[in-house]
Amino acid sequence: MTDNTIVNELKDVTIRFSGDSGDGMQLSGTLFSTLSAILGNEIATFPDYPAEIRAPKGTLQGVSGFQVRIGSHDVYNAGDKTDVLVAMNPAALKVNAENLKKHSIVIYDSDSFQKKDLEKAGFKTDNPFQELNLNSVQAIPVAITSLTKSALEDMGVDNKIMLRSKNMFALGIVCWLFNRPADIAERLLKEKFGKKPLIFQANIKAFLAGYDYGNNTHLTASTYRIETVKHEKGFYIDVNGNLATAYGLIAAAEKAGLRLFLGSYPITPASDILHELAKRKDFGVKALQMEDEIAGICTAIGASFAGHLAATSTSGPGLALKSEALNLAVMLELPLVVIDVQRAGPSTGMPTKSEQTDLNMALYGRNGESPLAVIAAFSPTDCFDAAFWASKLAVEHMTPVALLTNGYIANGSSAWKIPNMDDYPTIVPPYVQKHFDGDPSTWKPYLRDEKTLARYWAIPGTPGYMHRIGGLEKDYYTGNISTDPDNHRLMVKTRQEKIDKIADFIPKQEVWGDKNADTLIVGWGGSYGHLLEAAKKIRKAGKKVAFTQFKFIAPLPKNTEEILRTYKKIIVAEENNGQFASYLQGKFGNLPLHRFNRITGQPFSIEELVTEFIQIIDRKTIDNENKSYVSKTYA
């Protein structure tokens, strides 16, 4: 059969692989995104795991999804609604139904859309599409299970391996649909399974069977090609946010000439940082899994005292546990990077879901006046820069730095251009030996550098600089324990000023969009991609708007107030109840704030952002009150 299907050029497409936890959808998705990146597309991914390790097969709770968005450019996030859904069972269809675009393609495994499968997913009729009101989607049944089995029949592999290869059959179909050359997939599979020839063979066979099946049956009337525009030349790898965070720390340690130390305790969705750094013994990284989060941060403090670049990684509940020790680090004025991969709370909450609700805790969750620096990463790849910055500030300013990422960017991935490390600034630890003419006699442990107010770092093992530090208030000059009222006042002030002064060393805040807009959209951290795209769409819709996303939260960039005072309306959009908005309002006062707050455990919906923002832009009044957490669905 010759290929006479129509090939459509697309700018941007969102595809979701969805099935049971055991169906291998994460792998199909990862491979598809990687090979698209290799082809020069921009990519963004969003793995959406169930909370259970293995929920009962075929149930809604067990559905595991992996969303990939690929495009020619401007792929800042993994997309809202899907163009193509691969549904390995009825539950996968049901869970994703709400997020299907109107005319999307649904490729589903007809072998597993039998009566009992439909029942498990809670369908009442035998037409799930009708039941879900999916009348305009293009539903394409493929007997994926049986076709895979027959493709592998002659290999003599067992049933388990056959079933496990279904995901490659599905991947094959999707690769055909998007005109991805099969050989790249083959190469990637070889890298993945090269050491297990049988599995590799089965996977490749299933993949090609799927690919050919699409081709041979003209499964869809048209296939798609994603435009590739010229990209920055260079070498790329695929990273998710956790990996990029780990790499950022390694790179910073190298720049600073320090050994890297991580004290940690596993917790979803932060564990992969520990896993990666535990692997990196080739760099001499010391990554300790401790008995709990408190021991995690305490070993890091001990290692920082001993002169390492020390970090601790966790998620919300773990940061709560670390707060007492983190406060000690504030008092000790030692460098420490504290990574919080935010997940949906409060309490255990929804561990596999993402939100931005830990900002307040990072800023305020300690007894006493306890200032530290707070940085939030924008995207999977930006985690590298953010972790690098966090390390730099920690070391050069002798302070703990909280680095906030979240589940969405931590698990989501993008293609990352391998950086030229010469482009990154140096990191210069304020070693005490380099000051005081190398003469310890005039030095005291809490004397400070004038520009940064950082105290000098005297590391155990260094002759002459023996000293004692601790969590009790100390005298400004001698560093001895002091309960003097004026001294305490001075020290409280100095610790705050030290953090405030960091503003002298970080980039100014930049604003994107219309110079003369009345409305400024403000976000922070991991919602960057969604907000930027929404802003672009609003401009396309003919409205003027400006947009700025904060990475440096404490201290804020120096020009922050100046920027904020420029606009008549400020929309602060957050995946929480308005924490950053209140922080800005509390600091500057009299800001014309609108709070847009969504707390669903899911990333923002761009569509919703655009609609709601336009409404606010068009509205006449200013509404500082925080009413927007009211849920439309239930309120």
């Binding site: 013994k281 760099f283 305490c298 001990g302 005292f305 324990i481």
Partner: protein, 344 residues
């Protein structure tokens, strides 16, 4: 712990700093501090190669009185902080000073995990059976029935015996001393420092203010020879004013005190102390003496067993990995990634 090249022989004074010592006059902590100064001089470790790390409590004030590196941490976490310091720099001589509340109440978890990992840190546990700094609440080592501010009618809970907990966590070194016997305490500290791995030194310490005399029954000069026994590796377990008594064992593996020459017991019946047996059964029984029976309380090095230390094993693993995957720059590492592709 490797000791750096020593420039000269140190004296206890080299480990003192000028700060005024703030413990109550008569507190047992003074003695422990002095013994530590002496022990370090005997070990002749450079002051700058020492880190003394503590939690919170009277006992945890000790680092301030040392001319070494010191870190006064938060309550209960010294063992964890010290683990980080030691793993970061195995060349340091790392000490933890802690109280019965600090290490066995709030810090219990870090205590047992440090011991399990066998990090080479030296833990001095000041056991005064009371919370001193917070002015007199009972602690996890206070006897059942003990009356204190927080137990006005007496406690209703069994205490820990630190040795039992240490062995339960697979401890490799445990020793015990009393604050009033400076020589033996100094010797014990020296032995604990020489041990590679986590060493726990329990000091029965008197808090003159809130728990005065709690150890008096055994530490009083008069009763000491009968109420305590100093265990010495390779030596017979003898005690009594004239060393006329000894510890023997019966057929049911129960320890008992015998008087040589009485009831047919001879010196041959008296056990010889072996601190180095991997099996901790006998060490445990020795450490329990005097608690639920009227045998003399064991002092000295009760257990001292060789085992790999955490930080050494960790370093070794790094070396092995680096041999297989030689260190390169971060950029080279990325550029050799299997998953890399090029866009031209």
């Amino acid at each position: 712990m490797k000791t750096n090249l020593t420039y000269r022989k140190h004296t206890p004074k080299d480990y003192k700093n000028g700060s005024a010592v703030r413990w109550c006059p008569g507190c047992g902590d003074h003695a422990i501090l002095n013994c530590l100064h002496k022990a370090l001089a005997e070990l002749n470790i450079e002051p700058h190669d020492i880190a003394v790390i503590s939690g919170i409590g009277c006992s945890s004030r000790l680092p301030y009185y040392m001319n070494t590196y010191g870190l006064h941490g938060v309550h209960g976490r010294a063992a964890a902080i010290a683990t980080g310091t030691k793993v970061a720099n195995p060349n340091l001589s790392v000490w933890v000073t802690t109280g019965d509340g600090d290490s066995l109440a709030i810090g219990g978890n870090h205590f047992i995990h440090a011991i399990r990992r066998n990090v080479d840190i030296n833990i001095i546990l000041f056991n005064n059976k009371i919370y001193g700094l917070t002015k007199g609440q009972y602690s996890p080592t206070s006897e059942k029935g003990f009356i204190s501010k927080s137990s006005p009618y007496g406690t209703v809970e069994e205490p820990f015996n630190p040795a039992e907990l240490c062995f339960g966590a697979r401890g490799t070194f445990f020793g015990r001393a009393i604050d009033v016997d400076l020589n033996n305490l100094t010797d014990l500290l020296v032995a604990s420092a020489k041990h590679k791995g986590t060493s726990v030194v329990e000091v029965l310490q008197n808090c003159v203010i809130f728990n005065n005399g709690i150890h008096a029954k055994i530490t009083d000069k008069a009763s000491r020879p009968e109420k305590t026994i100093l265990l010495q590796h390779g030596k017979k377990m003898l005690f009594g004013v004239n060393n006329e008594k000894g510890i023997a064992i019966d057929a049911n593996f129960q320890l008992k005190a015998v008087t040589i020459g009485q009831d047919g017991y001879t010196l041959d019946d008296v056990l010889v102390h072996d601190a180095t047996t991997k099996d901790s059964t006998l060490h445990l029984k020795l450490a329990q003496m005097g608690y639920e029976n009227d045998l003399p309380v064991a002092l000295g090095v009760i257990r001292d067993v060789e085992a790999p230390t955490f930080e050494n094993e960790y370093e070794k693993q790094i070396e092995e990995v680096q041999k297989k995957m030689p260190v390169k720059s971060f950029t080279d590492f990325l550029m050799s990634s299997k998953n890399m592709w090029e866009l031209k």
